[in-house]
C-alpha cells in the first residue's frame, strides 16, 4: 500500500514538474503569444505551442532514454541512482553559481521553435529534473515485478520513460498554453512583464532539492 502511494506521489511529481516548467516564461509560452499577435491569427498560437511541446518532449526523451537503458542493469541500480542524483545536484549548483544572462538561445531564429524549445529545456536541465523521479518509478515497478528477463525489463523501462516524458510535456503544455491563451485573449501584454518572475534561483534550488531527495532515498 505504501508503495502504491509512493508511486502515485511520483506520478504527481511528474505532472507538477510539467506545470512548473509550463508557467516558466523561459520555457517559451510568450513565444506562442508573440506568434499569434505577429501573424494576427489565433491558430498560430496553437501551432507555436505544438512546436514548443515537440521540442520539450524531445529534450525529455533525450535525457530519459539513456537512463532507461541503464536501469535495466538491475545490479547497478543503486549506483545509477546515486550518480543521477549527483548529476542533478551538480547542475543545480552550477546554475546557482552561474547566473549570467544566457546568450546562445538568442541565436536561434524565431522561426525554429522546436529547436529553441529543445535547447531551452536542455540548457535549464528540465530533463534532468525528471530523472530522479523517473528512476524512483522504475525502482518501485521492479520491486513489484521481481526478477524478469533483461529484455522485458528494458522494454518496460523504455515504455515508462516515454510515458513520463509525455505526461510531463502534456502538463507543461497545458500550463503554458493556458497562460499564453489567457494573455493573448484577455490579460494583455502588460501581464507579461508583471508576471515574469526571475525563477533562476528557484529553478536551481529545485534541481538541488530533487537530486538531494533522490540521493537520500538511495543511500
Amino acid at each position: 500500500m505504501a508503495d502504491l502511494n509512493t508511486t502515485a506521489a511520483l506520478w504527481w511529481a511528474v505532472v507538477a514538474s510539467g506545470l512548473y516548467h509550463g508557467i516558466n516564461p523561459g520555457m517559451g509560452w510568450p513565444l506562442a503569444v508573440s506568434a499569434a499577435l505577429m501573424e494576427r491569427a489565433r491558430g498560430s498560437l496553437w501551432k507555436a505551442l505544438a512546436a514548443l511541446a515537440g521540442g520539450h518532449l524531445l529534450a525529455m526523451t533525450a535525457i530519459l532514454f539513456p537512463f532507461s537503458m541503464l536501469v535495466s542493469l538491475v545490479t547497478w541500480q543503486r549506483e545509477i541512482q546515486i550518480g543521477a542524483a549527483c548529476l542533478v545536484i551538480g547542475l543545480g549548483l552550477y546554475l546557482l553559481v552561474n547566473r549570467r544572462h544566457p546568450r546562445f538561445l538568442a541565436r536561434v531564429p524565431p522561426s525554429r521553435l522546436v529547436l529553441w524549445s529543445f535547447l531551452a529545456a536542455t540548457a535549464h536541465g528540465a530533463g534532468l529534473m525528471l530523472v530522479p523521479i523517473y528512476l524512483g518509478i522504475c525502482d518501485l515497478a521492479q520491486e513489484g515485478a521481481g526478477h524478469t528477463a533483461a529484455s522485458t525489463l528494458m522494454r518496460s523501462t523504455l515504455a515508462t520513460a516515454t510515458l513520463v516524458a509525455v505526461v510531463h510535456t502534456l502538463a507543461m503544455t497545458a500550463a503554458g498554453g493556458t497562460l499564453a491563451f489567457g494573455v493573448y485573449r484577455w490579460l494583455g501584454l502588460k501581464f507579461l512583464s508583471r508576471s515574469w518572475f526571475n525563477l533562476d534561483l528557484l529553478w536551481a534550488l529545485s534541481l538541488v532539492l530533487v537530486g538531494g531527495l533522490s540521493l537520500w532515498h538511495a543511500l
Binding site: 505577429m38 544572462h101 538561445l105 512583464s193 515574469w196 518572475f197 533562476d200
Partner: protein
Amino acid sequence: MNLRPDPTFHATPKLAMEAPAETLAFTLMLSPDGSQPDGLAVVDVDPKSKSYGQILHQVIMPYTGDEFHHFGWNACSSSLSPLTGHAFLERRYLIIPGIRSSRIYIIDVKEPLKAKIHKIIEPEEVFAKTGYSRPHTIHCGPEGIYVSTLGGGGPDGTDGPPGIFIMDCETFEILGRYEMDRGAQDKHYDFWWNLPRDYMVSSEWGLPPQFENGIVPEDLLSNKYGHAIHFWKLRERRNVQTIDLGENHQMALEIRPAHDPAKDYGFCGVVVDTTNLEGSIWTWWRKDDGTFEAKKTLTIPPQPAAPDDLPALLKGFEAVPPLVTDIDLSLDDKYLYVACWGTGEMHQYDVSDPMKPVLAGKVELGGIVADTKHPNGRDFAYGPQMVEISRDGKRVYWTNSLYSTWDDQFYPDDEGGQMVMAHVGENGGLTLDPDFYVEFPKGYRAHQIRLEGGDCSTDSFCYPSV
C-alpha cells in the same frame, strides 16, 4: 539582476507610450577642439520641478579628444524578447563611445544625480578585438549590446571595412565582430532591426578621412559618400540585400523602422542630393517574398540665398541645402520628425501612410541664412540636429551640433551648445516651449539626447501594439 523585469521595459510600443513621462534627460557634451574632456549632462525635464530646464549633474570624462556623438543603454525593452527567456537585466548603464578616440565609457546612472563612470574600454581593446574603430550607434539586442563603427583598422580607419561588434550586456566585455558575410557593405553608419521578423537594416555615411577633418567637397561632388542601405538576416549575420539609392543621394544616415514589429517598413534620411541640393526621406519595406524595396517618398527643396550670406563651402550654389541630418519616429509610428540642419527647420510629417508623408508641423530655429531666434529671444547656434521624442509623443527635444569639424564649415561664425523642446499639438503641429532652453557650459556643444526610461530611438519591441 532583478527578480522582476525592469519597469521601463515594455512589451509593446503602446505600453511604452502609456508609461509615466520622463523627468530627466541625458545629453552628450563635446569639446569641439578637444581642449576640455567631453561629458554627460543630466538635464531636468520635469515641468513641475523648480530646476526645470537646468543641468543637474555632469559626468566629465578623464580624457580629452573623445568626441561624443551617439550613445545608448545596456538594456531596453528588447530584454522582454520571448527568445531570450530572461528578462531580468537592469536599464542602468549608458554606453558612450568616443567617435574620434574609439574609447568607450560605461556610465552608471542608477542614481542619475550621482551618475559616475563604471568602466572604460580603451581604444586598443576595441582595435584588437574587432579590427574596427570609431564606435558609434548602440542598440541592445539578441546576444548583447550591438555597436556600429565608422572605421576599419589602421591609423586612418581605412584598413578593412567598418562594421558592427557585440559587447556583453553585463560585463561589457567586447565579444567580437558581428558579421559573418557583409556582402557589398564597405561603409557604415546607423543600423536597427525588427527582432521578431529577424532582419536588420544598416546605412552608410563615409570613411574616416571623409569626415574627421571636415566634409571633403570633392568627395561629395563626385558622389563618394555612402548612398546604399543594407538588409541583413539578423541572427544569421548575413547581408542578404543591398539597395543603392543612387549615387547622387549622398549620405544615407538614420534608419528608423516602424516600432510596431508587425509593420514591415521603415524610413531612412538622405542628407543631400548632389544634383539639386534636396534632402530626402526614403521608405523601405519588406515584400511578401522576404526581399526589400525602397522608394523616395519625400523631398525637401533647398532655399535660394545670396552668396554673401553663405559659407565658403556653399557660395557657388547660391542656395542653402536643407541637410537632413537626423530623423526620428514617434512610438505610435505616426509622426516622423526631420531635422533640416542647413535651413534651420524641424519638420513634422504625418506618416500614417508611410508611402505619403504629409507635412503636419514645422518649427524654424537657427539656420545658415535664416538664423531664427528662439521664442525666448536668445540665439540658437547652427540648426536643429539630433532629435529625440518623448515616449508619449507629446514633447520633441533637440540639440544643435552635427559634428565638430562640419559645424565649423557650415556655420563658421557660430559657437555654443543648446537644447530646446517643442510641444506636439493634439492633431499634429509643433510649437517651441519658450521656457525650455538649455545652454551648455562654455566651450561645449551638444549632441545626442537620451530620455530617462527609454525613448523613440533606444527601445526595440518584440510584440505588436494590439
